[in-house]
């Protein structure tokens, strides 16, 4: 009775998903992801999001750096996901610059706001602007650095429609859902 032989996959995916629940619930805070077998170009965190959430109904857009045979094969073999264009993508993966402009991604429709893209932003080599964020999941206003904060402000203005973001870096994940309000802190020079 004591130790049921649970499949390793189902245990690992449960632990990964719980990190995603925490990250999505507490925007702007960093949460840890475990290592997994994945293509070298993908971070552990980004690979975890894809493998935990995607199935054969998921459209995934891979930006140029990530659209390699290795990534495509890994994703299709493990999830059955469909490699798609920007317009139809449910999940999007790329560096910040490679995904701009954001206006091609789907933001949902008033009756079904959840039919929107989830963007996974890899790497942190973007111009950072100091911001102050507030909204659901944020206890006290939080200071974080964001690329092009004006785009996140525009996204929040679409609420309850909009895009949901995860920033991934090696084993770390941080979320900025559409509900997060952004204030730009004036740079000091």
């Amino acid at each position: 009775m004591e130790n049921y032989p649970f499949s390793e996959n189902s245990i690992n995916s449960s632990i990964a998903f719980r990190s995603l629940v925490n990250a999505t619930s507490y925007p702007g805070r960093t949460f840890q992801i475990n290592k997994l077998n994945k293509p070298s170009v993908l971070s552990n965190a980004a690979a975890t999001i894809l493998i935990t959430l995607c199935d054969n109904e998921s459209n995934v857009y891979l930006s140029k750096e990530y659209n390699t045979e290795e990534v495509r094969n890994w994703l299709i073999f493990n999830t059955g996901a469909i490699i798609s264009n920007k317009k139809n993508a449910d999940f999007v993966i790329g560096t910040w610059k490679s995904l701009l402009p954001l206006n091609e991604f789907k933001i949902g429709v008033p009756e079904y706001p959840e039919r929107s893209a989830t963007l996974i932003i890899e790497e942190t080599k973007y111009k950072k602007v100091k911001c102050n964020i507030d909204g659901p999941g944020i206890k006290n206003k939080l200071n974080i650095d964001l690329p092009n904060p004006e785009l996140f402000i525009e996204n929040n203005n679409l609420y309850p429609l909009g895009l949901d973001f995860y920033f991934t870096n090696d084993l770390e994940i941080l979320s900025i859902p559409r509900s997060t309000k952004i204030n730009i802190i004036k740079s000091e020079h």
Partner: protein, 292 residues
């Protein structure tokens, strides 16, 4: 068991952790994350057959199954009590299918599945409260058509809801609704808090914990993230009041917890006790310490 596979070398059966298969969990998990991104909005999902009938919390069970991890400590309550048939059978189900630890203590639990109550003990960050929801649509009694209620939510057309509440005031001098009292989540969607007493509504507001809602028969999932504004609908001249019976618990003496009325003798004598059995035990312990 659902979807079990065989490990041929060892000839043992490999089970899916927490019952549901991985494909179902992926679908539920996507719905849950979108629900957290759009507080109070009802995300449709394809509810699965569970080994218990609707009305037994199959929506909550599916949400719990999708969220549970091996190191969770699970608490299950029904009307505030851990020992009712419904709570016991759900707890046993997850002990068997996920081998997780269980507790009756709110403060020790990492995931709490509930029917009809929010624990009295203040919840903490990263605790997950999963609500079993029979009717997720707060506008259902005004408008039975799903296409219409969807439009009303999309346009924030909640005038009818206020009219209904105001009619109550005109008729009874106060708002009659005592359970499933509607709330507005993050200033946007009107949301059904499940059939909790309105006494519990203020606990939903700005809670550090993660609140997830599952409706199995109606196939809806919704969420209230932590630190989210949750406001019970009211009027300037008739502000919302989270009232309770003006009595003390006859076991622990608490006057600030939600009480159940019980008949204590054959001649119909009444008494009041905490609906939250864990809270009542904790208060009783505190009292005996004070006396020592």
């Amino acid at each position: 068991m659902n979807e079990m596979s065989k490990n041929e070398n060892l000839d043992i059966q490999i089970y899916n952790f927490a019952y549901l298969d991985e494909n179902t969990k992926r679908m539920i998990r996507r719905a849950l994350l979108k629900a957290l991104c759009i507080p109070g909005y009802q995300v449709p999902f394809s509810s699965r057959e569970m080994p218990m009938p609707y009305g037994w919390g199959t929506g909550g069970i599916q949400v719990t199954s999708a969220c549970l991890i091996p190191k969770d400590i699970l608490k299950v309550i029904d009307q505030g009590a851990d020992d009712t048939t419904n709570a016991v059978s759900i707890r046993k189900f997850f002990q068997k299918t996920a081998n997780v630890a269980v507790t009756e203590k709110t403060s020790d639990a990492s995931l709490i599945q509930t029917r009809h109550r929010i624990p009295e003990t203040k919840l903490k960050e990263k605790q997950i409260l999963v609500y079993q929801v029979p009717i997720p649509e707060p506008l259902r009694f005004l408008e039975p058509r799903e296409t219409e209620t969807r439009k009303m939510h999309a346009l924030s057309e909640y005038g009818l809801m206020y009219v209904k509440l105001y009619e109550d005031i005109a008729k009874h001098g106060h708002i009659e609704t005592a359970y499933a009292y509607p709330v507005k989540t993050n200033g946007n969607y009107v949301t059904d808090p499940s059939p909790i007493p309105k006494f519990d509504n203020p606990k939903m507001n700005n809670s550090p914990a993660i609140q997830l809602f599952g409706a199995g028969r109606e196939q809806r999932i919704y969420a209230i993230p932590p630190y989210t504004n949750v406001k019970s609908l009211d009027f300037e001249d008739y502000p919302f009041e989270a009232m309770k019976a003006n009595f003390k618990c006859s076991i622990c003496g608490s006057s600030d917890s939600y009480l159940d009325e019980i008949i204590v003798s054959d001649d119909g004598k009444r008494s009041y006790i905490c609906s939250d059995t864990d809270y009542c035990k904790e208060q009783t312990k505190l009292n005996s310490k004070k006396e020592d």
